[in-house]
């Protein structure tokens, strides 16, 4: 198991390294470069100055060499400065990573808490009215544009009813946790609702698959109660593939967070990446994307290990 964990960790780090190069290359393809921005800010710069600056910052070197220099600096903890915030990139990103986790974790838990019972109920009464209703709900969930859902929630709960704030982070330095939580409610619901349909469908099909298995028939034949068969035999096995889909869903969840944060003005990673790309903040965009990638890779790693731990049939070599 430990060897397996170490191997998977190594694999994830390798993917992260590859992605860092891909993202570095892509960021370099964005319009302009830092010197162009300096030129815009200072018309007195002569072409000689430009050339000198490009040499000074190493922008005249080939891509691989520039990437190598960046990586060397990054490994020593130097991730560069953010242009928009005039601060070291990590100083900008840490609080925003926390903000994103404040949004992601409750949304994730809420979507799973909704999807599990819905999927199980639908699977145990296939083709019934309840099943059809849950199916319709799940279809609606995967079909609704997430930003529109967010706008509708704002219209209902912030504009019409006036119960909750329409967006922003809320509160000054002396705002209590309840004040922050009030600003979180709508974004969390919006993000969770946009994910719950897909998970419900997956729980339902996994549960149905598991209910068809021989061991479920054996358990019933032994005379176990319906409840025991469902929970101890069917559900436990049905959850194993669900863990995988939840991990794969992390990428979608991070994508969803970007939309939710942008609509609600929640200062998380997603909004930071979006603002950094639009504002030509190369260092910030690069590190933001790497953080987002690392977050999803970490979720996948945890799911892989959980899978191997939950399902003894998986051989970890």
């Amino acid at each position: 198991m430990l060897t397996y964990a170490a191997q998977r960790l190594g694999g994830s780090l390798l993917v992260l390294l590859i992605m860092s190069f891909v993202i570095y290359g892509l960021i370099g393809l964005m319009p302009g470069d830092p010197i162009d921005l300096m030129i815009q800010a200072d018309p007195d710069l002569t072409p000689q100055d430009q050339k000198r600056l490009k040499e000074l910052y190493g922008l005249d070197k080939p891509l691989l060499e520039r990437y190598g220099n960046w990586l060397w600096g990054a490994l020593q903890g130097d991730f560069g400065y953010s242009r928009l915030f005039a601060a070291p990139v990590l100083e900008v990103l840490w609080p925003r990573l926390i903000n994103t986790l404040l949004l992601l974790v409750p949304a994730f838990l809420l979507s799973v808490a909704l999807a599990l019972p819905l999927g199980i109920v639908a699977a145990t009464r296939p083709q019934s009215g309840v099943d059809n209703a849950i199916n319709l709900f799940a279809f609606a969930g995967i079909s609704v544009p997430p930003f529109w859902l967010a706008i509708l929630l704002i219209m209902l709960f912030a504009v019409s009813l006036g119960w909750l704030p329409a967006g922003g982070m809320g509160g000054g330095p002396d705002a209590g946790p309840w004040e922050t939580a009030r600003y979180l409610i709508l974004p969390v619901i919006a993000l969770a609702l946009s994910r719950v349909g897909g998970i419900t469908r997956y729980v339902r099909s996994s549960m149905m698959e598991s209910l068809r298995q021989d061991y479920v028939r054996t358990a019933r034949a032994k005379g176990l109660s319906r409840r025991r068969v469902l929970v101890n035999h069917a559900l436990r096995n049905a959850l194993i593939p669900v863990v995988t889909i939840l991990a794969l869903d992390m990428g979608m969840l991070v994508s969803g967070a970007l939309i939710t944060e942008t609509v609600f003005g929640w200062l998380g990673m997603g909004k930071t990446i979006y603002d950094a790309v639009l504002g030509n903040d190369y260092n910030l965009a690069l590190m933001g994307l790497l953080f987002a990638t690392a977050l999803t890779l970490l979720a996948n790693l945890i799911a892989d290990l959980a899978y191997a731990w939950l399902d003894p049939r998986v051989s970890y070599r």
Binding site: P145, W148, I151, S205, M208, G270
Partner: protein, 317 residues
């Protein structure tokens, strides 16, 4: 003689839709039994026809989707403007129809390209198997697990002239660009389904027979396997259109997809958020159309799946 027999074999395996030999009629009868899917197909037909007729409506009436009339802003529904006007006084219904042309067109085009990419990858991986398969599928899983939206935002921002491509601008360029971007990430599901189908098909006797008759790899893949994996391709492509329309709407909403003044359902919602108080209906209509269209494509895909593979009825939703 050999030639003739091979053609017969090929023709025999070409009955892709119904293994039992009955062709399209059985498929159609099965599909029509799925009432929701059938109704969705009709609805999509009506939407497509209405969108296509937008220029005719514009020519036949006084309405215009482009003429700005600041004295006529944010009007409610009236006889002159059936759905009212937008924040610049343009007729909302016409803009929605033109937006429909873009959203449906981009959806179809990107889904087709993604289907081709996914089919080639899935077919090649499934047919050759072994390390090649493992490598391609790891790559596919990697693409699925990544936080795609943040990466797409960078991809949407890159400057094509830095790649040595001619930098185009204007309406048509933004459409091509978004079709390419979305196709680049939209092929994964098709690849996985086609691979799975190819894996089971390549062990069938008719493939062995084709081998024995001296058919090359390319010929076996194109002539013998491709028609037999048509079902998963059709289902995956139909289901992916919905996702692709969603993705287009998200990117356009964020200002990185279809650029105004060209209308798309996504970019019509960009300003709507600021107008929630003054003109809430502007935020409702485009989102509703995206929602209904995506849901209809999902129902149709579901219906196709049931009609093409009756056994999947219990598993899918």
């Amino acid at each position: 003689m050999t030639q003739a027999r091979e053609t017969t074999l090929a023709a025999g395996s070409g009955q892709a839709l119904e293994p039992s030999g009955a062709p399209l009629t059985v498929f159609w009868r099965r599909f029509r039994r799925h009432r929701l899917a059938f109704a969705s197909l009709i609805l999509l037909g009506v939407l497509a026809a209405a969108s296509a007729s937008a220029p005719l409506i514009e020519a036949a009436t006084e309405l215009s989707a482009t003429r700005v009339d600041l004295l006529d802003r944010n009007q409610g529904p009236s006889l002159a403007h059936l759905l009212g006007t937008d924040e610049l006084g343009r007729d909302l219904m016409l803009r929605l129809l033109y937006g429909g042309q873009v959203s449906l067109g981009v959806g179809f085009a990107a889904a087709l390209i993604a289907a081709v990419i996914g089919t080639v990858i899935g077919l090649v991986a499934g047919y050759f198997g072994g390390r090649f398969d493992a490598l391609l599928m790891r790559f596919t899983d990697g693409v699925i697990a990544l936080p795609l939206l943040p990466l797409l935002i960078v991809l949407a921002a890159i400057d094509l002239s830095k790649l040595g491509l001619a930098a185009q601008s204007g309406d048509v360029a933004s459409i091509y660009r978004i079709i390419g971007l979305i196709a680049l990430v939209g092929w994964t599901q098709t690849a996985r389904l086609v691979r799975a189908a190819t894996l089971s098909m390549k062990t069938r006797p008719f493939v062995t027979a084709a081998h024995a008759l001296g058919a090359g790899n390319l010929r076996i893949m194109a002539v013998h396997l491709l028609p037999n994996v048509a079902s998963p391709i059709i289902v995956a492509t139909t289901l992916s259109i919905g996702n692709i329309i969603l993705l287009e709407s998200v990117l356009s909403f964020l200002g990185l997809g279809i650029q105004p003044p060209m209308a798309s359902w996504g970019n019509m919602l960009t300003n709507a958020q600021e107008l929630i108080y003054s003109a809430p209906m502007l935020a409702v209509w485009p989102g509703l159309l995206i929602f209904v269209t995506v849901m209809a494509f999902n129902f149709v895909g579901d219906g196709f799946q049931d009609a093409l593979d009756p056994r999947s009825g219990e598993r899918g939703a």
